[in-house]
Symmetry: C2
Subunit: 293 residues, 2 copies
C-alpha cells in the first residue's frame, strides 16, 4: 500500500509555481495577482481566505483581499465584482462562499468574468469542462487529477466509482475521469443517496472517489484488493483524546481499508492540501492567458 501524500505533492507544486513566477519576473513580466472577496466574518471563511493569502505568498503571487460587511447588498457586491472584472491588474479572483442569505449566490457567480473565474464555478467554465474545451476547472477534482498524475496511477479502462453527485466534487470528477486523456478514459459510475447497492458497486471499483461527507462510510468489505482510494471527506468528529476535542475524519475507514489498497489518500493531508494549490495553478494559467487567450 502506498500513501498518496497530498501535502508533499502540494508543496512540490507550490515550489514549481514559484519557480515559474520567478521566470516570468526575470523575463520582465509581472506577478500573477489573485484577488479574494470576503463578505462578513464567518470563522471558516476567514481561515480559508487566510490560507489562500498565505499560499499566494508562497507561490510569489500578489494577493489582495476585498472585505465587505455582511450587510452589503447584492447589487453592491456585483458592482465590486464588475470592478475586478475590469481591473487589468487582477488575473483571477474568487468570492468566498457561503454568502449571506439575502444574496443570490448563483447571480454573484455568474457576474464573474469567466476568464477570471479561477474557482471554475461559472456555468461557462462548467459547460466548457463538460464539452472538453479549455476552461478553469474546479479545485478539488483538479487536485485529485493532479494526484493521480503525479503518482502515475493508471486510469485508462479502469472502473471508477464516485460516491456523491455534488456540483463541486462528484459531478466534475466524474466528468474529468470519463474524458479522453490521461488521467481519464475511466469507466465511471456515480452513486448517491438514491443508490441502493453502493457496497456491491464499490466492490467492483478499481478506483473509488468518496465525496459524500459521511465519516468512515467506506469500509474494508466494500473495497477490493488493490483498489485506489481517494477520500474527499472532511467531517469533524468528537475525539476526547485530542486537546481541541475533535479530529477530521474522511469518508473512508482508513485503518481497515488501507491494508487492502494499492494507493490511498489520508485525511488530513491527502486531497485537502491540493485544493488551494489547484487554485494557485488556475491563477497562474489566468496570468499566462493560457485558458482564454
Amino acid at each position: 500500500m502506498q500513501l498518496i501524500e497530498g501535502k508533499k505533492i502540494a508543496e512540490q507544486i507550490k515550489n514549481e509555481i514559484a519557480a515559474e513566477v520567478e521566470e516570468i519576473l526575470a523575463q520582465g513580466g509581472r506577478r500573477p495577482h489573485l484577488a479574494g472577496v470576503l463578505v462578513g466574518h464567518d470563522g471558516g471563511s476567514e481561515s480559508y481566505m487566510a490560507s489562500k493569502v498565505k499560499t499566494c505568498e508562497q507561490c510569489g503571487f500578489k494577493s489582495s483581499l476585498l472585505r465587505f460587511d455582511e450587510t452589503i447588498t447584492q447589487n453592491e457586491l456585483i458592482a465590486a465584482i464588475q470592478g475586478l472584472n475590469n481591473d487589468d491588474g487582477v488575473d483571477g479572483f474568487i468570492v468566498q462562499l457561503p454568502l449571506p442569505r439575502h444574496i443570490n449566490e448563483q447571480a454573484v457567480i455568474e457576474a464573474i468574468d469567466p476568464r477570471k473565474d479561477v474557482d471554475g464555478f461559472h456555468p461557462i467554465n462548467v459547460g466548457r469542462m463538460s464539452i472538453g474545451l479549455p476552461c478553469f476547472k474546479p479545485a478539488t477534482p483538479s487536485g485529485i487529477m493532479m494526484l493521480l498524475e503525479r503518482y502515475n496511477i493508471e486510469t485508462r479502462g479502469k472502473h471508477c466509482v464516485v460516491l456523491g453527485r455534488s456540483n463541486i466534487v462528484g459531478k466534475p470528477i466524474a466528468t474529468m475521469l470519463m474524458q479522453k486523456g490521461n488521467p481519464g478514459n475511466c469507466t465511471v459510475t456515480v452513486c448517491h443517496s438514491a443508490t441502493p447497492n453502493i457496497k456491491e458497486l464499490c466492490q467492483q471499483a478499481d478506483i473509488i472517489v468518496a465525496a459524500i461527507g459521511k465519516p468512515c462510510f467506506v469500509t474494508a468489505d466494500m473495497v477490493r484488493e488493490g483498489a485506489v482510494i481517494i477520500d474527499v471527506g472532511t467531517t469533524r468528529v468528537d475525539d476526547p483524546t485530542r486537546e481541541r476535542g475533535w479530529r477530521l475524519c474522511g469518508d473512508v475507514d482508513f485503518d481497515n481499508v488501507a491494508p487492502k489498497c494499492s494507493f490511498i489518500t489520508p485525511v488530513p493531508g491527502g486531497v485537502g492540501p491540493m485544493t488551494i494549490v489547484t487554485l494557485m495553478h488556475n491563477t497562474l494559467l489566468a496570468a499566462k492567458k493560457q485558458v482564454y487567450p
Copy 2:
C-alpha cells in the same frame, strides 16, 4: 415487453404544443418563432432543416430559414447570428451543423445568445444543466427523458448504463439521469471505447442507453430480464431487400433483445422522432420566457 412508441408520443406532444399555441394566440399573444440557419447545401442538413420547418407548421409556430452559401466567412455568419440575437421577433434559433471546415463551429455556437439557444449547445446551457439550473437541454437526451416520463418508467435508484460519452447524447443523458428529480435519481455508469468490460456492466443494468453508433452492438446475452432499453443508434446498413438498398439499424440487436426487455425503443420510430419535438418544446419555453425570464 412493451414497445416505447416514440413516433406516437412525438405526435401527442406536437398536438399538445399546438393546443398551447392556440391558447397563447387566443390570449392575444403571438406565435412562437423558430429560426434556422443553414450554410451550404449538404443533403442531410437540407432534409433535417426541412423536417424542422414542417414540424414548426404542425405545432403552429412561425419558422424562418436563413440560407447562406458555403463561402460565407465566419465573421459574416456570426454577424447574422447577432442579428437573430437582437431580433425580438425571434424566440429561438438553431444553426444546422456541420458547418464548412473554414468555420470554427464552437465560436459560432458561443455567439448564440444562450436565451435563444434552443439546441442547448452553448456552454452556458451545458453548464447550467450540469449544475441543475433552468436551461435549454439538448434535444436527444431530453427526448429520452420525455419517453421515460410518458411511459411512467421508474428510474429512482435504478442502475443506468450509458454506452457512449458524446457531448450531444452520452454525457448529457448521464447528467440528466443522475440528477435529483423524476425521471432521475439513477445510479449512472458511463461506458465508452476505453471500457474493457461493457458486457458485464450491461448485464447489471436496469436501464441501458445505447449511443455509440455501432449497429447491433447490444446483444441478448448483454441484457438482463426486464431491462429497459433505449436505443439512440441510427446507422445505415446495406439491405438489398429494401428498394433504396439500406435500412436504419440501431445499436441494439432488437429482434433478439426485445423479448427479454420490459420496455424497448425501436429504430426507427423510437428516440429519433422525439428529437425534433424537444426542439419544438424548447422553442415554446423560449417564447414563454420560461427558462430565462
